[in-house]
Amino acid sequence: MERTSVFSARALYAKARAVCLSLLFQVLLLTAVHAQTSTIKITGSVKDAKGNALHGSSVTVKGTAIGTTTDENGLFSIAVPSQQSILVFTLVSYASKEELVGTRKVINTVLTEGGNNLDDVVVIGYGTQRKRDVTGSISSVSAKQIEERHPANLTDALQGLATGVLVTTDAEPGSDGSIRIRGYSTFSSAGNSPLYVIDGILSDNMNGINPNDVQSIEILKDAASAAIYGSRSANGVIIITTKRGVEGRPGINLQYLHTFGELAHKLPQANSVDTRLYRNEQGSSGTSNDSLNPSFNADNDYQALLTRTAQKDQVDFGLSGAVKNMNYYTSIRLLNDQGLILNSYAKTLQLRTNLEFSPTTRFRYTSRFQFGYKVGNAIDEGNTIFQAFQRPPNYLVYYPDGSLTGYISGRRNPVTVALYQVNKDQVYTGTLFNQVDYQLLPSLKFITNIGINYTETRGVNFLPKILSSNSPTTNSGSEVYSRSINWQYQAYFNYNKTFGKNSTVTGLAGFSAEHTQNNNASVAGVNYVSEQAISLNSATIVPSGTTTGASANSLASFFGRGTYSYKGKYIAAATIRRDGSSRFGSDNRWGNFLSGSVAWRFTEEKFMQSLRNIFTDGKIRLSIGQTGNERIGDYDAQSRYDFGTYFYNTVSGIAEGTSFGNPHLKWESTTQSDVGTDLYFFNNRLTVVVDYYIKTTSNLLYSRPLPRETGFNDIRVNVGTVQNNGFELALTGRPLQTKDFDWSITTNLSIERGVVKKLNDGQPFIAGNTSDAGNASWLIREGGKLGDFYGWKQLRVYPYDQSNAYDDNWNPLTPVFDATGAFTGYTEGGKPYGGAVHSLYGKGQKLKGGDVEFANITKDSVIDDQDRMVLGNAQPDFYFSVMNTLHYKQFTLSFTFNSQWGNKIYNNAAQTLDNYNTSNIIPQPYVIHNAWRNQGDITGVPSVKAKTSTGNFRTNDHFLEDGSFIRLAYMQLNYTLKPAWVKRVFAQGINIYLYGSNLLMWTNYSWYDPEFTSSDPLQLGQDSGKYPRRRETGLGINVNF
């Protein structure tokens, strides 16, 4: 072909049209053409050193796309092009092996365990690579590791499995948790989550994926690995590959697990005696202290009333197999999780079908379909489990006639809320994916695919009359619908050729485009005439709660990669990506993302050969690259007028919002350099992977405050720099390995340090609470770190009224009292003080005994917002996990410890209870018994009577707690029935297992659980009374037919 001349756009277009017309016809011909090609059929088996059949081992013809996998008996059958073909046998954690076909028709081979896993295939962007050739920092997770945990979702499955990946789970049924790779690189919540690539489709989450469908997960952490995904890869990429059928007769897999969950950590709570003591302290107890009033004479244990044994059923069904040129995999999962709190639940249905059809050795067609449905009642934690602590325990839960109480003295009945408040969410997800692979040349493959993701959610909220605080009671509710449709198209060439004996070159060039359309609608109503069927038809519609929303964004990309490997000893790789996003100013839409990496397998050098017995393999990796972030509002670069919230006198007003559109917005770019080493010792019995990285985000996209006099609050800008650096260590060892007993242990340790290097004009700003109320605030400043809690430092509670006394330099004076207790004067440093005495004021009042003394930073007479300081940080100093697997004959015991260390949590749950702010909220028993009562009391708890009027409960370090913990997160004892027994029930394999999660926990944190997600990276680590975590035990069975 005369390529040079054809590549003018017009000529190309004409040609393209002609070619496209004949396309379909020719595709249909493929099978027929194939029948004429001649091949050799090879059969055989793959076994381990002990003679056990190896199921799922991959068998490929070297240098081609032809391949199959062994069935559960370790058998395979494959058609090879010629006698010169070489078969490559690979299986995770076994050494790979090559066999020349020659004249043989049957090839039986043995793979040695623990062998060099450097031949494992690692999925990288738009292709695969042998682990040997990887130059970046990539963590791999296998199906086996995931299955051992029996996770309800993939986030649970990944916790602790990779260094540099901080996985945080929530305790509520159906919650998705969060994943953060190598620190916070930007200020927005969306911008800090990784990019997910599910079988080639790019996605913002992996919520709809059934963990049992996953064949492998690769986590691309450094820029050189992630940069091929350009604009959305700044926080790493998680590549998920789902299962495919393996050759042999159809395999049927059935799994069932039932677990029981108990409240892992019950908190101390005031009983009615404590409450009456508190009421007396308050002074004005009203009728609620009356021991004869039947309404106030209970002594409820609300935690017991509100919680139950959680029950979870997990049923999996899988069917898979393959025939000559086709493989199939289909699965169904049903999950019914009835949570700890009454009426909280999540039910999930997930379906998947993966099909691959290869009519010829050159051509493959792949189709994947996935559907998910989730329904749950997202319980209102604030009004249930948290209300359980607020509500005085002497209030009635049931009336004498057995009906539930609603509001009493301004406090909701948490049991009623749990049972009657509706917060029902339904989510439907569907994915359809089609791909065609064509081997143009032995070394060149063309791949094109199109995928569609569909998500629809429906939320129903309803607050019945029984929960109304109004007099007379009213009800209210709303319904929210949202829909998101995303399509993606990709086309790329993969090139792979070995020149001579030593040089291997790979290449990638491609194009992709995608578009997302989001729509939502919500309708709010009040005064439903019937509460039996929650229908807005029975309600009066509220216009201010009735809105629609819509937005769209588009991305177009070009990408390429080249790698070179010399003898697998010197390896180099480079990538380029050019992305255009609709979200940016029209002059700044396109961004280029480059990366380069090199690796040196120094154990291949001659001088290392003498150490080969100890040092099996060693590689040093160096990489640098740029990645990007484009996750901002779809239209942040445009000045916009909106409507719907500016009504006046029946006219709908049109005005600008609070953020000013910035037409100069462009990409945020993150440059990351990584140096790492992969070391294998003692024939792979010990593996050490170490990485160090520096990750710098510049042109930070964030909302910089505008002077309020402009009429706007802020403007999105590209100013600012955030830097993260970190150290990661992964150790995997097999300390013991005998015929019957085998022990392997993996430890992952990650240390992250982040710093905000530059802000617009160096201007710090406060996130969260900006007033002097008691909830958490954070200071974002140059030189600081995300998660810096900002507030007042509590020094002590003044023992005496006279303790509020200072000299001219604001050093405290010590009051002196004579034998009768009368105040006689002050001393300073033991000497009588005769100078001027100064006092501190809070909220316009002089502080007294029982008030909190806060650090007086400004050294003036008023404690106000200028006296705030950074009190601690919400990010852990380091986090680690230790995973053990022990095999003894038919038994396997595996257990995982997880830990985070050195982070602070602002316990706003305790703050809200203990601040005396609402007279009908009862504090924790510790507070009731230790509050300051009399002159001279030494205590850390301020006087009940002081309430909030002098600002004793400003955001302060009294509620800042150490969030460090070590948790025995997962444990499984598995028994594999002996094959002889299994055959009697016509099964291939049966496992029975005991399962436990969150079995043990060591922490000093005082509320339910120190692990919870924080959605906003500017507001990390505030616990406002989260859903309590369960200690879970269960029994499961897994049968293969």
Partner: protein, 483 residues
């Protein structure tokens, strides 16, 4: 076969290149779907009406909670209701983080006005068919609201940055320092009101909007604030010459608050409809059905209205809920709605409608009395005072009872306190008459002996600038002695 597949590949590669060349720009152009870009607005008279609605919506936001915080909370009309409110308002302990210290909603409204004043003339030029009288009236409404906004800024914070153009381009320098309060009044507020007067449609008298009456009322108010009593009297005469306003009869006094469009007295009130505007937040401060009020009625007001001798004052039972013994329910702004036990039923705060009165004729008459008193015209002062006093069902003052300007001033201010209770007037009355420290300090000290109060330092009469506002503009200097 191979050729075919190659062709497919070239075809796709070609499409990709084509895409890169011509289609890509279009593909990456996404238009907002539930908003409009700036170039699509300000096209028609309907757009002007929507811009005007947004401007008044801004006035709603300004007043939603600040109405009471600025005009009443710090005065002797209210006291803190236990833990539900913030005692700082009542101890003169304001800080730069307290509610009410943020002037952002005022400037948001000013920006909307400036945007309106920029674009209406352009629409006028391109749409000659629109009635020029209507166009001018829109402009008048804009100028009047801008004058109102700057007058509020001056009353609450003193000096303030001046913006008379919209912030509509990133090229505009967003940083401005504060302009002295006196300059704002003389070279912005008064000229704006006079411009409004020159453009206003004299026939329009919708109570929910600024109109010729409210422009005169503001001119009277500003003149009084400047102690320009002769100016105030002159503007009063012009207002009176409209022959549009009078005192509402005693029988329908409640309509001033629940049906201002039906009275002859209301000059300007804020419209409210919770279904589109969400609940009027003043309800959480004064009285809502679902929560405790933040403010309770001060002893001065409670004792006067609950005294059996004052039952004849029609305002008492119609202003505060005398049945609620915790003194925390002010029912002035709600229609009478009694349950079976004849107790007032309050709306939930998310469903409260309150028609915030801005100016009404009783207010103007009492200002006129105050002006007369300050120009030593006691008989005129007495006349106007008695009009309001007797309408309340009380016996008229006789001249001998108020023989000098001090006693007259006390009587006028007392009348204003009772008549305009909770209408955002009392604190500014005290400021205007230089009585803040003298009146309030003893009350603060009586409630909290250790409280800071005002002392001899009049500087805390002004509010502090909010910390967020200060942080957003380094050119701003905090009001002393706040930090």
């Amino acid at each position: 076969m191979l050729t075919a597949m190659k062709n497919i590949c070239y075809c796709l590669a070609g499409l990709a290149l084509l895409f890169a060349g011509t289609e890509c720009k279009k593909f990456l152009d996404e238009k907002p779907q539930t908003e409009i870009t700036a170039n699509l607005f300000w096209q028609s008279e309907d757009d002007i009406k929507s811009g005007i609605a947004a401007m008044y919506s801004g006035v709603q936001t300004i007043n939603s909670t600040n109405y009471l915080l600025w005009g009443d909370a710090r005065s002797d009309n209210f006291y803190n209701n236990g833990t539900y409110g913030d005692i700082s308002y009542f101890t003169n302990g304001l800080s730069s983080t307290i509610n009410g210290s943020d002037w952002s909603p005022v400037y948001t409204t000013i920006d909307r006005v400036n945007d309106l004043l920029k674009h209406v003339p352009l629409i006028k030029a391109s749409h000659p068919a629109i009635d020029p009288k209507a166009i001018n009236h829109y402009m008048a409404e804009g100028y009047a609201v801008r004058a109102y906004c700057y007058f509020e800024l001056v009353k609450v914070w003193g000096d303030a940055p001046v913006w008379t153009i919209p912030f509509d381009s990133v090229g505009i320098n967003p940083f401005k320092a504060r302009t002295p309060a006196a300059t704002i009044l003389d070279s912005l507020v008064i000229p704006d009101l006079q411009t409004a007067l020159s453009l206003v449609d004299q026939a329009k008298a919708i109570v929910w909007e600024t109109n010729v009456g409210s422009i005169y009322a503001m001119l009277i108010d500003v003149s009084m604030w400047k102690h320009d009593y002769n100016g105030a009297i002159a503007w009063f005469d012009k207002l009176n010459a409209l022959k549009r306003y009078n005192l509402e009869p005693a029988l329908t006094w409640k309509n001033l608050f629940i049906g201002p469009d039906k009275t002859v007295e209301n000059i300007w009130s804020i419209y409210w409809d919770w279904t589109t505007d969400k609940g009027a937040a003043i309800s959480g401060q004064l009285g809502a059905g679902n929560t405790n009020s933040q403010f309770m009625i001060s002893d001065i007001i409670w004792n006067y209205f609950s005294n059996a001798a004052n039952v004849k004052d029609i305002r008492g039972a119609q202003s505060i809920d005398l049945k609620v013994k915790t003194h925390d329910k002010t029912l002035k702004f709600y229609p009478v709605n009694l349950d079976a036990k004849a107790n007032q039923v309050y709306p939930t705060n998310s469903q409260a409608n309150v028609y915030y009165p801005m100016y009404r004729f009783a207010d103007i008459l009492l200002l006129r009395a105050e002006a007369a008193n300050n120009t030593q015209d006691l008989p005129t002062a007495l006349t106007y005072l008695n009009q309001v006093h007797t309408r309340a069902g009380l016996t008229a003052y006789v001249a001998t009872a108020l023989p000098d300007s001090t006693s007259m001033s006390n009587a006028i201010l007392n009348e204003r306190q009772l008549e305009l209770f909770g209408e955002s007037k009392r604190f500014f009355d005290l400021v205007r008459n230089g009585l803040v420290i003298k009146t309030l300090d003893p009350i603060i000290k009586a409630r909290k002996p250790d409280a800071l109060g005002f002392g001899q330092d009049a500087r805390t009469i002004l509010w502090p600038l909010n910390r967020t506002v200060l942080n957003s503009n380094p050119l701003l200097v905090q009001n002393q002695p706040y930090n």
